[in-house]
């Protein structure tokens, strides 16, 4: 396991939920871990939504005080630098969607490369309209790499249809995920699914709680 784990991918691919679950997994192994909300694209649905849960489990949360406060401010706190400077802690980075979101990562890249102890996972949901095909998924992947200056080290197949997700729906994307993996020469590190339907060989994800039932 690398010291830094970065979750990047298409807008709405599930990066935040995965990053939170990953950070919780590390914390539950009694490892020191910080999670940073590095989303400068979307003012809603931020990892900061789960701050209370994360802190209760021992995860340090680094997020702008304004994140999810209705102040639509695309900025990062100075504390974010502790992720690269303090090597005593595991760091989980939740990056904003697409190339636009990945630009924010650029300023940390020299430090990340210098330390060279990171994984950058490409989160893909083949049920998202702009990444339904392998070619589209590759396009988005390359756009992100070009924007931030880091290369991906693995793929997470997080294909889902929200509340209508079934095992069959997930399995129907295996072929595409394999094709993507071969085309870009990267391993599929996880297949993730919501915990109520996940099989043993999948990573079970607890979803962030919705504020109300609709």
């Amino acid at each position: 396991m690398k010291r830094m784990t970065l979750f990047c991918g298409h807008y709405g691919s599930g990066k935040t939920n995965l990053a939170i679950n990953y950070a919780l997994m590390l914390a539950r192994k009694n490892l020191p871990v910080a999670l940073a909300d590095i989303d400068i694209v979307n003012p809603y649905f931020r990892s900061k939504d789960s701050k209370d849960l994360l802190e209760k489990e021992g995860v340090k949360v680094i997020a702008l005080p304004f994140a999810n406060s209705s102040v639509d401010l695309p900025a990062l706190p100075s504390e974010t630098y502790s992720l690269v400077e303090d090597r005593s802690r595991y760091a989980v980075l939740d990056i904003g969607g697409d190339d636009r979101g990945a630009y924010a990562l650029g300023r940390f890249v020299p430090y990340i490369l210098e330390e060279n102890d990171y994984d950058m996972f490409y989160v893909v949901n083949f049920y998202r309209p702009l990444t339904t095909t392998v070619d589209e998924a590759i396009t988005v992947m390359r756009e992100i790499e070009n924007a931030c200056g880091l290369s991906f080290t693995g793929i997470i197949n997080n294909s889902n249809l929200g509340a209508e997700t079934t095992l069959e729906k997930i399995e129907a994307t295996y072929e595409r995920a394999k094709e993507l993996s071969l085309a870009v020469n990267l391993p599929i590190v996880y297949v993730s699914a919501e915990k109520s339907i996940a099989k043993e060989d999948m990573v079970a994800i607890s979803l962030q709680k919705r504020p109300f039932e609709i």
């Binding site: 709405g12 049920y127 998202r128 929200g162």
Partner: protein
């Protein structure tokens, strides 16, 4: 219908517009509808004849819509509340020139710059004019991501059919939430547009797109003719969902996100033995007056659930002709009524009814 995909409401509107043959989009980013503009920016340049333009302001964007609408091409703009206010002059011109166009408002809390959380407080603006002069927009209100797509498609068809602008009135929740959606098939405009400015090739009289009339007699005539068309829309295009109304003694009226919360409140109240139903307007202009009036003969009262200080409630009261009490259950400024709040107000109505 194609294989389902997982989309944000804003993206569903954009993709549905493209599938309805819209190749011209002019806009300016604003939360909470920015994904729509971003989606168009990504997709339109890749399509044949596709034009995406981020204008320097909402005012210029709506006037670009006016221009393209005059050529008969399907065209769209979108914004959120403050931006829609800026567009009002252009919308009035488009209505005055009898042009079809689709305008999307993903509402946020107001007035003024307000906030970025969801709201329905542009109801008056959308249904009672907004801009100057005697005109209406056909106003459609989606309540799911699927309807974001379906009603966008319908908005283009209705705008073309009746030569008038149509508005999709959503809110920040609808724009931001993700749900599975089956996208509509590719289609395009089905009606002839002999009025469009497409070049005469010296074979016909030139067409004129205009909303200026120097003779008041002629201007009056255009108004009366336009309202004959509006009468047809009121007759033919009212849409609403009737939910658990068969045996209902109390009727909730709510649209968009409010209707979804209301359905949860209804299930809870039904379990307690209260016979509550819902009329969910899908068009708020034309408003489902007849459905409300007919319900008034059967129910003991109405609750209007809104994310505003109470705007639709006026139409509910007009429609039910003061036959029954109408209570307001509302939150404002970006807040959403809770299931408990709806139950509590509906029970107030029940108590009042038993007095």
């Amino acid at each position: 219908m194609s294989e389902k995909v997982l989309m944000k409401g804003n993206e569903a509107i954009a993709e549905a517009a493209l599938r309805a043959g819209c190749r011209h989009y002019f806009g300016y980013p604003i939360t909470p509808q920015t994904e729509l503009t971003a989606y168009m920016a990504k997709r339109l340049p890749k399509l044949e004849g596709g034009v995406f333009l981020q204008a320097e302001s909402e005012i210029s964007a709506i006037n670009m819509v006016y221009g393209v609408a005059g050529t008969g091409k399907r065209v769209m703009t979108s914004s959120s509340s403050p931006g829609i206010s800026l567009k009002q002059e252009g919308i009035s011109y488009i209505a005055g020139a009898d042009l079809p166009a689709v305008i999307v408002n993903v509402q946020r809390g107001g007035p003024g710059l307000g906030g970025i959380q969801p709201s329905q407080s542009d109801y008056f603006q959308a249904t009672k004019g907004g801009g100057h002069g005697d005109y209406h927009l056909i106003v459609l209100t989606p309540s799911s991501v699927q309807e974001m797509a379906d009603l966008t498609h319908l908005a283009f068809d209705l705008a073309d059919k009746y030569r008038c602008p149509a508005m999709l009135l959503a809110d920040g929740t609808m724009g931001q939430m993700m749900e599975p959606v089956a996208l509509p098939e590719e289609t395009n405009c089905k009606v002839e547009k002999p009025w469009a400015v497409t070049g005469t090739e010296m074979k016909r009289e030139h067409n004129i797109i205009n909303s200026l009339y120097l003779s008041p007699e002629v201007l009056e005539k255009t108004n009366f003719e336009r309202f004959e068309r509006y009468a047809k829309i009121e007759k033919n295009e009212v849409r609403y969902e009737s939910y658990m109304m068969d045996d209902a003694e109390y009727c909730i009226v709510a649209f968009g996100i409010a209707a979804r919360v209301a359905k949860n409140a209804i299930s809870a109240m039904r379990k307690e033995g209260f016979k509550v139903g819902l009329i969910r307007p899908i068009t708020i202009w034309p408003f489902p007056k007849k459905a409300i009036r007919e319900a008034a003969d059967k129910v003991k009262g109405f609750v209007s659930v809104e994310l505003s200080m109470g705007q639709m409630i006026e139409d509910v009261k007009l429609a039910e002709e003061c036959l029954r009490p109408v209570l307001l259950c509302n939150r404002a400024g970006g807040m959403i009524p809770s299931v408990d709040q709806i139950i509590s107000v509906t029970k107030e109505l029940v108590e009042g009814g038993r007095k």
